[in-house]
Symmetry: C3
């Protein structure tokens, strides 16, 4: 985009700041919606990764339901099933909190740092899930 020469000032130029602003006169900053989205792309990517992780957890529960013949609406069964079921339930419970913190801190503070912490969290959750599925020790 930067190599397109901006047109000279014209009579169609944006109106002065303050005239249409409901917030009184202020220094008008031009903003670039596309760039704003570009800047949120890291948050978007971590979000998609988080959704995929949740999908993976759900699939594990579905496989466990088949393997241990625990058909819905039953939620109790052999300890192996219950651990996988609870691991997924626990991750689902924290998923909205994770998404909320990711975007709030990403938008108000730093997108890069948020995305990085988000990645670490998702990795931690994967370890939690596998650990819980193995044994409930230390949960």
């Amino acid at each position: 985009m930067s190599d397109v020469a901006p047109p000279p000032c014209s009579f169609l130029a944006p109106p002065p700041a303050g005239v249409f602003s409901p917030h009184g006169p202020s220094l008008s900053l031009t903003c670039r919606p596309a760039a704003m989205l570009d800047e949120a792309v890291g948050l978007g990517a971590v979000t998609v990764l988080g959704v995929l992780e949740q999908a993976y957890f759900s699939l594990q529960v579905i496989y466990a339901r088949r393997k241990y013949s625990v058909s819905p609406p039953c939620i109790s069964g052999p300890p192996e099933f219950e651990r996988i079921f609870r691991a997924q339930a626990n991750c689902s419970e924290y998923f909205p909190i994770f998404i909320t913190i990711l975007w709030t801190s990403g938008v108000f503070f730093s997108q890069g740092l948020s995305s990085l912490c988000g990645l670490l969290y998702l990795y931690g959750r994967l370890c939690y899930f596998w650990g819980y599925a193995e044994s409930a020790q230390g949960r």
Copy 2:
């Protein structure tokens, strides 16, 4: 808005792009927050519909608790109750994932397509809930 003649270029006109931009010189695009919201109105409508659907599911659980006399904190009871309870729990589990996908795809890709898929998902969920409440066959 389009029939208001924009005022001529004035000394109060927005500063040149690049001067205040932390991202170096670039073609400045003027953006229109109100229009941006207008464009998200489809996503907002599907969101509201989704919330109403969740409210409906919760009400069904409350009615089922009364009908089958399963008072909180109990979560087990006759299969009819357990099916309704699990159907609502399952829908609640996927609700944050639904909202996340709806807005992420709506903002980064196409609002129209997202809203449409969102509507289909909500309809699918309704069928899922009714089907599950009837019988657990095929869940």
Copy 3:
């Protein structure tokens, strides 16, 4: 910001509205992303408060698990534990709905009113949790 004198109109001034707009000619409004964030700061604050409340509820369940020796993946135990467990589960279930309503109404309607209702909701949830932990009467 308002005390910085805007530079005079220059040849680098933003291009006329309509030229790059995919939505045809329209009155271009300059927008201020920083100010837009300022305006969402109330919603952000209520969001953070909501997250902290959920963290508090989770901690209560962890303490109750220790106190009544109900180790994961078990979810049944003495009624005192089950009440705290269900109170947290119920609040977690409604948390994504709360966040969704808070931001949808805050962005499309009024930020102030949304934040206020959000605060009231969070206070109501705290009362609900304490009341439920005490006794299941009236849940």
